[in-house]
């Protein structure tokens, strides 16, 4: 019976390596310089690339970070420094965990209702907003966790020097945990980078360069989806290329984030 558990482990790892290998194999043969520099070609013409989708993804992630990171950071500081044992702290923590579990498509509807409906057109802003809300829970919880890990002796030493509590938090506790918090944010960005569902009807897509934040914007995940379900062979090829680029982006961010962390964090970390 015990060997069965080992078998399941091998099976699970096998699935992972199969996915990585298969995507890399198909992605590499399909990837060329045009992919990074050219706009998508109209249906029927071969070639072209996804330069606009790459820029669009970066734009959406930037916007999302502007919304998600500050709220998550300050919320996390509140939880770890002031709201540890309080009922309010429990409520905030609980609703953060709930927010983390909301289906991403629901976030899309939310952003659609709040931003797309009043503006009457799809926009990068709406997409970034949806992703930003999705970033809050992980940014918040990882900030809280890394701040909690700062040893009591460091806080006590600073307090013993007569510093007020807010100064201790701002100048001693937060800088100590800074690297951890930054890594948490990086994992967070990697997580929403692959989100597709909420973008389908917020950022929508665009076959040209989007001007500013108020226009529909292409992104890699949505392009993968559109190209994968389309009946054209050449589009499938590009979907593989885009899939590989997206996957590498996410995995490298994950690897780097976990490797720079202390061993202790490395073990407890799930994204």
């Amino acid at each position: 019976m015990l060997s069965l558990t080992g078998l399941f482990t091998l099976l699970t790892l096998g699935v992972l390596f199969f996915i990585l290998g298969y995507i890399t194999y198909h992605g590499i043969t399909a990837l060329d310089w045009d992919f990074f520099t050219k706009l998508p070609k109209p249906v029927g013409e071969t070639g072209g690339g996804m330069a606009n989708a790459i820029v669009g993804t970066i734009k959406l992630l930037g916007l999302a970070s502007l919304i998600g990171v500050p709220i998550g950071f300050f919320g996390g500081v509140y939880l770890s420094e002031y709201g540890k044992e309080t009922t309010l702290g429990f409520l905030v923590r609980f609703s953060t965990d709930l927010l983390n579990g909301f289906p991403s498509i629901v976030m899309g509807i939310f952003a659609y209702i709040l931003i797309v409906l009043p503006m009457k057109h799809f926009s990068a802003l709406a997409g970034g907003f949806a992703l930003g809300i999705m970033m809050i829970p992980i940014a918040l919880r990882s900030t809280e966790e890394f701040l909690t890990l700062v040893p009591a002796s460091i806080r006590e030493a600073a307090l013993a020097l007569g510093l007020p509590e807010w100064k201790v938090i701002t100048f001693v506790v937060i800088p100590t945990a800074f690297r951890g918090i930054l890594t948490g944010v990086m994992l967070d960005i990697a997580r929403v980078a692959g989100e597709t569902a909420p973008l389908l009807f917020t950022a929508f897509s665009n076959r040209f360069w989007a001007k500013g934040l108020m226009e529909p914007t292409a992104s890699l995940p949505v392009m993968i989806y559109t190209y994968a379900i389309a009946p054209y062979e050449d589009w499938h090829r590009q979907a593989w290329a885009a899939g590989m680029v997206l996957l590498m982006l996410v995995l490298v961010a994950n690897l780097v984030a976990r490797l720079v962390l202390h061993r202790r964090f490395f073990q407890s970390g799930a994204s």
Binding site: M1, L2, T5, F8, T9, T12, L16, I19, Y22, I23, I71, F74, G75, V77, Y78, Y82, G83, V92, S95, D97, L98, L99, G101, F102, P103, S104, I105, V106, M107, G108, I109, F110, Y112, I113, L114, I136, L140, R141, E145, T148, R191, A193, G194, T196, A197, F201, F204, P221, I224, Y225, A228, G243, V250, L251, N254, F266, S268, G269, A270, S271
Partner: protein, 294 residues
């Protein structure tokens, strides 16, 4: 600082309210019947969510049936059997599986899993278990079974990472007591450890269920997207999340949009309840050790 923390509560409340507010047209017109009507006809403006509820439920159940034994097996292997130097990197790799974007699962699903299921798995299943109504019918490749298998792969990491932490949290004395009675390793896991960790493991399963219910892209790409209810798992189906993904931008009338938002509201309500249960169960075992992250 407090205000920002409170904004998280506010966001949760606003999401719930907005979903309700924008589905009021459909709620007023169809009432509770929305949940058990099975006609979905945008042209005639007849909307019933039953096929989507059914599809979501069935695919999630298939996903969990496959994922629970495998996920628990991996968790037991990692916490009880594997030495530390092996267990840590494997845990990391399993978590990478959770980091893969769902659209990538969909891509693999369309081009690898669907042909394989059509040509290999479904013919085998209908040849051996074809007397069961759930394994009858033409092998399309796309369908409920395929969606369930994709979901299983996607939720295994959640079951593994939470269950593993819960298992590790089982006190040493539990293990030592049963070992001193002469139990084998397997008996130790089965009699002393699993019952002790029960609520946490249940929490991890609920968490996986919530993910499966809300999963959109991978399912949309392999389920076939047909609003029908049929006994066979080989047939195409539809889920709540995938109908929203597919039809939201095409919805022309206010009532159509409202009906889709109401599906979103139902999905939201169900996942909130399941998630809340999962969290409370996980909190109950993790209060002494700090939060178990997922």
């Amino acid at each position: 600082m407090l205000l920002i923390a409170l904004s998280v509560l506010l966001i949760t409340a606003v999401i719930a309210f907005e979903l309700y507010w924008h589905s009021r047209l459909s709620i007023a017109k169809f009432g509770w019947a929305f949940l058990w009507q099975s006609t979905w006809d945008p042209v005639a403006e007849e909307f019933g969510a039953l096929p989507f509820l059914y599809g979501t439920l069935v695919t999630s159940i298939i996903g969990l049936l496959i994922a629970i034994p495998i996920g628990l097996g991996v968790a037991i292997f990692l916490s009880e059997l594997a030495p530390r130097w092996l267990s840590d990197p494997i845990t990391f790799l399993v978590e990478l599986l959770a980091a893969i974007p769902s659209v990538i699962y969909g891509l693999i699903g369309i081009f690898v899993l669907v042909p394989w299921i059509r040509n290999v798995l479904e013919p085998i299943l209908s040849a051996t278990l074809g007397f069961l109504p759930i394994f009858q019918g033409a092998p399309y490749g796309v369908g409920m079974l395929t969606a369930g298998i994709v979901l299983a792969i996607m939720v295994i990491p959640f079951i593994v990472s939470v269950s593993r932490e819960v298992l590790i949290a089982v006190p040493r004395s539990q293990r030592e007591a049963i070992l001193s009675l002469g139990a084998t390793r397997w008996e130790m896991v089965w009699i002393a450890i699993l019952p002790y960790a029960r609520s946490g493991i249940l929490g991890s399963i609920f968490l996986a269920l919530a993910r499966a219910l809300g999963e959109t892209m991978a399912v949309t790409m392999v389920i076939g997207n047909r609003p029908e209810i049929s006994a066979s798992l080989f047939e195409p189906g539809y889920t709540m999340a995938s109908v929203i993904a597919n039809e939201f931008t095409e919805a022309t009338s206010d009532l159509y949009v409202s009906a889709l938002v109401e599906i979103g509201l139902v999905l939201f309500a169900v996942t909130v309840v399941v998630n809340a249960l999962a969290r409370l169960l996980i909190y109950s075992v993790s209060t002494k050790r700090g939060a178990i992250r997922t």
